[in-house]
Amino acid sequence: MESFKPNAHRDHLLVEDLGDELIVYDTSRHEAHCLGKIAALVWQHCNGETTVSELASLVSADLGAPSDEALVWHALDQLSERQLLEPPAAERLRATEWSRREMMQRMGAMAGLALALVTSLPVPTAAQSGSGDTGATGPTGPTGPTGDTGATGPIGDTGAIGDTGA
């Protein structure tokens, strides 16, 4: 597990640095992500050359407190779900599914560290940006007026040749 070296996906991304946080905008999926301090640190160092253990050390040094590989795996998990890591990372993370329960138990013990390391937003279209949230489906409305006559259809196939006359 220690040899796993995740690589950040960086195509089609706009990044805005807010100090302790990063805003990442995926222009191909129109999703925006706010990476908290830990996720930002992990993602910025996902260069395909840094192991999970080394990432944990970087996080620990930056926080000025003991860190844990479980926390880095958790960050990688959230980054991968948002497609902010190269695909091999997702496969590798799936392969570690067995250890998630244990990891979450250990995370629970790390008081003060929020589990939501990445917050995401599907960016609305201009029309959606001012409309209300989608509510329940309303009753069926009255039948509308008859529409315009449609265009003439294409000419049909030639019919079969008839029987020869008597």
Binding site: L18, G19, C34
Partner: protein, 287 residues
């Protein structure tokens, strides 16, 4: 002046064959827009529906062209008014007023999404102590009601609909009369002066963003959000967010490096307005 026409049109549209008796070409937020009409009598009513800050254009060549037929001969299904945009049919309506409502809404959305050098965010805005307070939110979130109470409490009115940001992150006035819903839910236009307030005239830097929504019976319990969550909160209501994210993101980040963000649902607007202004006054000074 010639009737407005599109600079580029791939193919002639069905509405081009109709007889157009009048037209308006204007500029708004860097966009050139035209409206051609079947009835000259309706020009003044169209002009009253144009976006804030519009000015007549010299050239009839436009980027977006509306065609409004209200002559009663538009179609045979009882819908006497038709509206096209760039040659494509937008709506058929039974009354000219309904067509004008749709024209106004589409014009406003187009300008808000496509404006040059300005970023439109769905938000109420007031000025307070030389800073702007932004209330981002969708329609029916109670923005106008809260803005009205803030104005009654002494804040300066900027907008109940859009925060219009420049590239420095300052907010410019977009001060249509407030649209406040009556007990039946119908919007009613009210001026800031009628509320005892005044309208802001110069751009302000943002001091506070309040993420709130009306929820009956809910107490006002504001919690601070991080600058990053503040960017997401604004982005959710930014009209050109998808079209020009590379321009939008740096501006929102600039705003959030200076502003404080508070979030809470709310019930009655009046005590919340007083609480917002009081909390603003207790915030640490930001550069």
């Amino acid at each position: 002046m010639d009737l407005p026409r599109l600079a580029k049109q791939a193919a002639s549209a069905a509405c081009d064959d109709r007889r157009w008796a009048a037209g308006l070409a204007f500029r708004a937020y860097g966009r050139r827009i035209g409206v051609r009409m079947s009835c000259p009598d309706i020009v003044a009513r169209v002009a009253a529906r144009l976006p804030l800050g519009w000015a007549p254009a010299v050239s009839p060549v436009v980027e977006r062209l509306y065609s409004l037929a209200t002559d009663g001969e538009a179609c045979d299904d009882g819908r006497a008014s038709r509206l096209w945009v760039d040659g494509g049919e937008l709506a058929r309506t039974t009354s000219a007023d309904a067509a004008l409502d749709l024209l106004e809404a589409d014009l406003q959305l187009y300008v808000a999404e496509m404006a040059r050098r300005r970023i439109f965010i769905h938000a109420g805005v007031v000025g307070w102590r030389q800073r702007a307070i932004l209330l981002p939110g969708r329609s029916f979130a109670g923005k106008s009601t809260l803005v009205a109470e803030l104005v009654r409490a002494g804040a300066t009115y900027y907008s109940d609909e859009y925060a219009v940001l420049d590239r420095c992150g300052r907010v410019h006035p977009y001060a249509r009369p407030l649209s406040i819903r009556d007990v039946d839910g119908r919007p009613r236009r009210t001026t800031a002066a009628a509320l005892g307030g005044r309208v802001g005239e110069r751009p302000l830097p943002v001091g506070l963003v309040v993420v709130t929504c009306y929820q009956p019976g809910v107490g006002w319990q504001p919690r601070p959000l991080t600058p990053g969550d503040g960017v997401l909160a604004l982005l959710a209501h930014t009209l050109p967010a998808r079209r020009t994210p590379a321009e939008v993101l740096p501006v929102l980040a600039r705003v959030m490096r200076r502003a404080v963000v508070l979030a809470s649902d709310r019930a009655e607007a009046r005590p919340v307005a007083a609480a917002i202004l009081s909390q603003y006054d207790r915030l640490p000074a930001r550069t």
